[in-house]
């Protein structure tokens, strides 16, 4: 009995508190989307619950805003920039992990350093680059710039995975007459699939969530991505359309949350690969 009480105090209650802290904002988003404007701005009622649920914000979001278009844009950008980044980083990762040549080590570290350069340092000069390429309001502006922060991360993650695959497997294939390229595509890449999957998921999530470049490079309402559209278009002057804002925020979060919940182990292993293995 006393033991059980101890477990509640030491474990269960702190875990409940932790869950409330991390999950409450999502509950708050959800509950807001079902409140009518009169309920939203009624300070006599308990704000935690809905009295008369309404779907008007959801209807508005899907039928009378550009949200569906933003979802399409965000999806295209995330998929294409993830594909480009994976292609580049599989090649670069293999090259840096497996092949012996001068400068390989230094290049590896240089790529790692670029991973630590925040977009904050680059966005202003990049506006010139994007302008001279005539890519404003074009999704290509994001598809081409997102790989700059995706490739370093994915490459670094994949180097670790490639190194964990025994060299002998490749060497024996090459003794049997396979070329280097065949050894790479038939043996190393299939074995590194879990790593490639987790790199891809990180890349997809990071591009889905990106804000600064999308804010600056896209101004047309129909060209925007979800994070930019929701934060910029549902606020008119001092009027915040909280119902719509929260519906958009929730819908924008669902895809990455789903992706993440299906592959949580890949996420965590990818996340901790850098920190723990060093």
């Amino acid at each position: 009995m006393e033991r059980a009480l101890g477990r509640w105090i030491r474990i269960y209650i702190p875990i409940l508190v932790l869950l409330v802290i991390t999950l409450f904002p999502f509950y708050w988003m959800a509950v807001t989307t079902f409140k009518s404007p009169s309920e939203l701005f009624d300070f006599n009622q308990t704000p935690l619950f809905v009295r008369q649920p309404t779907l008007e914000h959801w209807r508005e979001l899907f039928l009378h805003t550009n949200f569906p278009r933003w979802t399409l844009n965000t999806t295209i950008v995330a998929i294409v920039s993830t594909a480009i980044s994976l292609f580049c980083s599989i090649l670069a990762g293999y090259s840096l992990a497996r092949l012996r040549y001068r400068g390989a080590n230094a290049t590896g570290w240089a790529i790692f350093i670029t991973y630590l350069v925040p977009p904050t340092l680059l966005f202003l000069p990049l506006t010139f680059v994007i302008r001279s390429l005539h890519l404003f309001n074009n999704l290509l502006s994001l598809i081409l710039t997102y790989p700059t922060f995706l490739i370093p991360f994915c490459t670094w993650l994949l180097i670790g995975y490639f190194r964990s695959i025994p060299r002998e497997l490749e060497e024996s294939a090459m003794v049997d007459g396979a070329t280097r390229l065949q050894a790479m595509t038939r043996i190393v890449i299939p074995l590194a699939l879990p790593g490639i999957l987790s790199a891809g998921m990180f890349a997809f999530t990071l591009s889905w969530n990106e804000f600064l470049y999308a804010l600056i490079f896209l101004n047309d309402s129909t060209a925007k991505t979800i994070p930019v559209g929701v934060t910029q278009e549902f606020i008119h002057g001092d009027d915040f359309f909280w119902g719509q804002l929260m519906a958009g925020a929730l819908m924008g979060s669902v895809p990455v949350a789903l992706l993440y919940s299906f592959f949580v182990d890949y996420f965590v292993s990818g996340l901790t690969a850098g920190a723990v293995k060093g």
Binding site: I15, L18, V117, T120, F128, T231, V264, V268
Partner: protein, 310 residues
Amino acid sequence: MATLTGRAERERHARHLHSRLLAGERRMGYLLLTPTLLVLGVFLLYPFLFGLWLSVTNAELTDIGHFIGLGNFKFEFTVDRPFLQALSNTFLYTVVTTVFKLGLGMGMALLLNQAFPLQRFVRAAVLLPWIIPTVLSTLAWKWMFDPTFSVVNWAAVHLHLVAYPGPNWFGSTNWALAALMVVNTWRGFPFYGVSILAGLQTIPHDLYEAARVDGAGRWHQFTHITLPMLRPVLLVVLLLSTILTFADFQVPFVLTNGAPYNSTHVLATWAYQWGVPGGAIGLGAAISLVLFPLLAVLVAATLLILRRPE
């Protein structure tokens, strides 16, 4: 004799084969790197160098401008008052949130490292703040902090923590800064927690058993086994998170965007303010470069730590 030449022949042949193999590897190595170096060169290295140049010019979006020496930096440090505030905000924001994220992350890791039901679900759920698009969850917080109609003040008043009507979060500099820190901490601590948890799981159990045999208490075990064993993980996580927080744009931009009266800007949002709506790209580039010296130190430290085990 015959065997000798045979052996020399074979050796020469092997050496030749080896060097041909190496030459092949070299060619392939560079070839495989090409796409990556191309992308990073055009959209990362070039903009970075170009940014260095912009910071010493009076460039605007439609006008490349001309060299004005350190004029931008002089203007920032002597005339532009919100800049100085942004500079001090950036440091305060980074230091305070890092302390909280580390503390909460450590608590979370120690908590989740125990056995309890629904472990997988809980471990997945607590990482959500870090996975979800930051600007979208920041919007939710902005609404939660609404002083009149929303839940933070409602809860604080009903729990008798503050007198009705509660703080006007975005009406005063200090409350607004506090709100920024709360949101950044909320978003960031799960990353600490999960990384530290992974670190905890690599510590061998027998260390603790040996310590228990020697009569070491929980606290003693924590300071003499857990912390030293976590050192590499902690350092890497701290450095990565400090770099990201120091350059943070999203939370300050969406939550306050400087309100009230340009008093809660950080370097990133102030650089944006001058560079994009203000059109003074040269000045904006100079402001964001103020981040650079400290970032360079942090990056160098990260590299040293990661390199040492080899």
